[in-house]
Symmetry: C2
Subunit: 197 residues, 2 copies
């Protein structure tokens, strides 16, 4: 029973079904058919809207990145000091929806995929670069530029590492704990800097 103006809705349904399917199998070994069935449509329709499997996966990745970016952006809007901006980024990285096991699984799978698929690699680089420059921007006001760059690398690695452990651990990922870990890192670095000079 086809209705008009279904495209946007179907695209979103397929993207969400992709996340669920990836989480269910724990890998990219998901057939287009499985995803489509989960979304309640035929596999042919998935091809119709996305062109191919890779495009569907990349679109899903883009979706998750969009969620992340919007979380961070919203929090950044009300952050006045550089220190508050750091906290905004950290909290934006660990919102409840992003810590959902299904989302975490997808991130991890995408990381792996970024090694092989040019499209995924490009997208991943955008995410990395954006996070890095946002971090450096906030940090340069708190420490020398060189140190800011190194610290940004550390924070980013820490965030990614925590994602990884959330995706693989059996414990339910906990926003508070994740935030505390990264904040602890930032605090330790900042305090050390201040005492030193």
């Amino acid at each position: 029973m086809p209705r008009r103006g279904m495209e946007q809705q179907r695209r979103l349904e397929l993207v969400e079904a992709t996340i669920e399917a990836i989480h269910a199998t724990g890998s990219l070994d998901v057939t287009v058919g499985q995803i489509a069935r989960r979304a309640g449509v035929s596999s042919a329709l998935a091809h119709h809207y996305f062109g191919g499997k890779d495009d569907l996966i990349v679109a899903t990745m883009r979706h998750l990145m969009g969620v992340f970016a919007s979380h961070v952006r919203r929090r950044l809007r009300t952050a006045k000091t550089p220190r508050a901006r750091l906290t905004a980024i950290i909290h934006g990285s660990f919102t409840a929806d992003q810590l959902q096991p299904a989302a975490m699984s997808s991130w991890l799978v995408f990381y792996a995929m970024a090694q092989a698929s040019p499209g995924a690699k490009r997208l991943h680089r955008v995410y990395t670069a954006r996070l890095h420059s946002t971090l450096v921007h906030a940090l340069t006001e708190l420490m020398p530029r060189a140190k800011a760059i190194e610290t940004a690398r550390g924070i980013a690695a820490l965030i990614d590492g925590i994602y990884l452990r959330c995706a693989l651990g059996d414990e339910t990922p906990d926003t508070k704990q994740a935030v505390a870990l990264v904040e602890g890192y930032v605090e330790a670095i900042l305090n050390r800097k201040m005492r030193r000079g």
Copy 2:
């Protein structure tokens, strides 16, 4: 021209070929045939020795974990103080051979695989638990136990995050830089603790 006592050699060749093949394709979408050809044998032989594809991959993961563990263990032997033990773990995590792009790719792929394959998951849990307890053991002598556990989580996440970035970045992974980052974290935490109480 079959000779006796080939088993050990063939197993190692196949494991190394698996690492290379994974790096070449950047994913687990490697056929047993590709791996076998790389090792200079037939795909049937790979099945003969390892049983199946999953077993071959898990054996490869076990191999990499063994390399990591032996590096850390050797360094731990000559480390006298808790602080030196931390440095041993950190240096052991970033030896040149482990930072090889092929090895990094494999780690990342294995991380992803640990979500899906029970065998890989079990193995990953062993790695995580071992690293965690080694870290906590060294840290408890430097700070209260609760803080030691949190710090161990941070260090482990940082190490994993750096692995991840090495696997995905285009820059050649650099031992010195990786070590400096983690050491910086440790130093910052320790200094802060000491000043506080």
